[in-house]
């Protein structure tokens, strides 16, 4: 049964694959046997990751792409098909966090809102749209969206990030309801607090040491690898429209401060 966890010969596109969580996913996918197309805005980081993929004996393809531009997304898909022959899995991981500084709602400008939603949510929509017809026609495919615990709960003064990540969950569910009958599934990975360079801007809302997280530590990018491999593999074929939350127990709680443990005898 566990052979299904292998990605031998599969082709995966990872957006935002040059750094942070995206890079960690690419590394795990390649170790599990996948050939990987890595898309991100900057060429430098993705070429480094491609070299890592190739050192494992898999094919890697660097495609500089701004996912908020649907023409570039179409090009990313066409180039992947040309160079790697097929697309089994799309991982929508690209997200812009640098501009998402917490701010009172009355200070968020139209431009900031549009730019944030464009990259974090529209980008995922464009990528899903660009692979969907191809996947439906061949009768198989997997779309994996990377959201955030902030897409399920509110965060003070953090509108763009929370709304775009909440939208990712609904994109997943709607794809699941629409494409499931054609053999194409969609699922979401929901990471919790994982410090990367991209989260620097709202570090203020991140706990410093992991003290407030039930298991007592912050997440590491490496935590996401085995989940991405599972969702990209045939081991998850019956999973559709769902999410895997990886947050050290944060969302299982959230009802009282961590460690609040009342003692109330039966009277």
């Amino acid at each position: 049964m566990l052979d299904k966890l292998s990605l031998d010969g599969k082709v995966v596109i990872v957006t935002g694959g040059g750094t942070g969580l995206g890079k960690a996913m690419v590394q795990a996918l390649a170790r599990a046997g996948a050939n990987v197309a890595i898309a991100a805005r900057r060429r430098g980081p993705i070429e480094e990751v491609v070299a890592e993929v190739e050192s494992l004996g898999r094919k890697g393809l660097a495609i500089p792409t701004d996912v908020s531009d649907s023409r570039q997304v179409e090009h990313m898909v066409a180039l992947t098909l040309d160079e790697l022959g097929k697309i089994d899995v799309l991982i929508n991981n690209a997200g812009r966090t640098a501009e998402n500084n917490p701010a009172p709602i009355w200070e968020v400008t139209d431009e900031e809102w549009r730019a944030g939603i464009d990259t974090n949510l529209s980008g995922a929509f464009y990528c899903a749209r660009a692979v969907s017809k191809y996947m439906v026609d061949r009768g198989s495919g997997k779309i994996i969206n990377v959201a955030s615990g902030f897409g399920l709960r509110g965060v003070r003064d953090l509108y763009i990030y929370t709304c775009s990540k909440g939208g990712m969950l609904q994109l997943t569910r709607t794809l699941a309801m629409s494409l499931g009958r054609y053999g194409v599934t969609a699922n979401t990975i929901v990471p919790g607090f994982i410090p990367t360079r991209g989260t620097d801007s709202f570090r203020r809302s991140l706990p410093g040491s992991g003290d407030v997280i039930p298991i007592g530590r912050l997440g590491q990018p490496e935590d996401i690898g085995p989940i991405a491999v599972f969702l990209a593999s045939n081991a998850s074929d019956y999973m559709n429209g769902e999410m895997i939350i990886m947050d050290g127990g944060g969302l299982a709680g959230g009802y009282a401060p961590t460690g609040h443990a009342p003692e109330i005898p039966i009277v």
């Binding site: 499931g180 298991i215 590491q220 599972f230 299982a252 709680g253 443990a261």
Partner: protein, 257 residues
């Protein structure tokens, strides 16, 4: 076939607890087999001899080392005996999988107190006793993984299923609360939520004549094999930052309005 090292359960000892009605009982042998295939030694604690024998047979057939014991999971002494026997045989307990789901359907106004207590006993009290016995040992060892197999009815309602729904919701809440309480002891507690499953292998065209099957976004019922790899991840060391969560493997049912 390259498979991530992170999914290996080499030298881990797993207790697989199985009890339930026909549809849930069929899972237990596949769960035992998956853990054995990943390298764990498996101790099966089942209410029925058929389930125990089939689970041990499947786990051994894939090259594992499995043993079984019969027990009543609602009985405190029986549960202690399971852990004593497992520790005698294997020396430690790293993993507990509870597949304890007795399904029950009846118009709620007709449900007797005895029926309600039987459902809650076999589905909730049993999980409570198994988790408590496991947690004590796992805290002493400084590590552990617990996975409760539940149904999507932990979060959704269904006609004639109020007692069963309540029992599944209870196990989901037990999962979340224990994840917090034992998180700092390096114990992870998660659940796998199932949907409509069957171990019958009907031709797809035949299966899709059923209205229920057409309601599922993936348009087929699940098979116990569909949840096995997720179980292996949740019981592995690499599942360290995921805790207190249900993972639903249900063909898209939970996305359905």
């Amino acid at each position: 076939m390259p498979i991530l090292e992170e999914y290996r359960l080499t030298d881990r000892v797993a207790i697989v607890a199985g009890d339930g009605t026909l549809d849930s009982n069929v899972f237990t042998p596949y769960l035992a087999e998956a853990l054995a295939e990943a390298g764990a030694r498996v101790f099966v604690a089942a209410r029925s001899a058929d389930v125990m024998d089939e689970s041990v047979r499947r786990a051994n057939a894939i090259g594992g080392e499995a043993h079984g014991i019969l027990c009543d999971h609602t009985n405190e002494q029986d549960v202690e005996m399971v852990f004593t026997e497992a520790l005698n045989r294997f020396g430690r307990v790293d993993i507990l999988v509870n597949n304890l789901r007795t399904e029950f359907g009846k118009s709620f106004d007709q449900v007797t107190v005895d029926e309600y207590e039987t459902v809650m006993g076999r589905n909730v009290r049993s999980v409570f006793l198994m988790c408590r016995a496991a947690g004590t040992r796992m805290m002493a060892q400084g590590r552990g993984r617990i996975v409760n197999i539940i149904s999507g009815l932990a979060e959704r309602g269904l006609w004639n299923s109020a007692a069963y729904c309540a029992s599944q919701g209870a196990v989901l809440q037990l999962t979340k609360a224990l994840a917090l309480e034992w998180g700092r002891h390096n114990i992870r507690v998660n659940a796998i939520g199932t949907g409509w499953f069957s171990s019958e292998e009907l031709p797809l065209e035949e299966a899709q004549k059923e209205l229920l099957v057409r309601f599922i976004p993936l348009r087929r019922k699940g098979h116990p094999r569909d949840i096995a790899p997720a179980l292996v991840y949740l019981t592995s060391d690499s599942c360290d930052y995921t805790t207190g969560q249900p993972i639903y493997i249900d063909g898209g049912l939970m996305a359905h309005p």
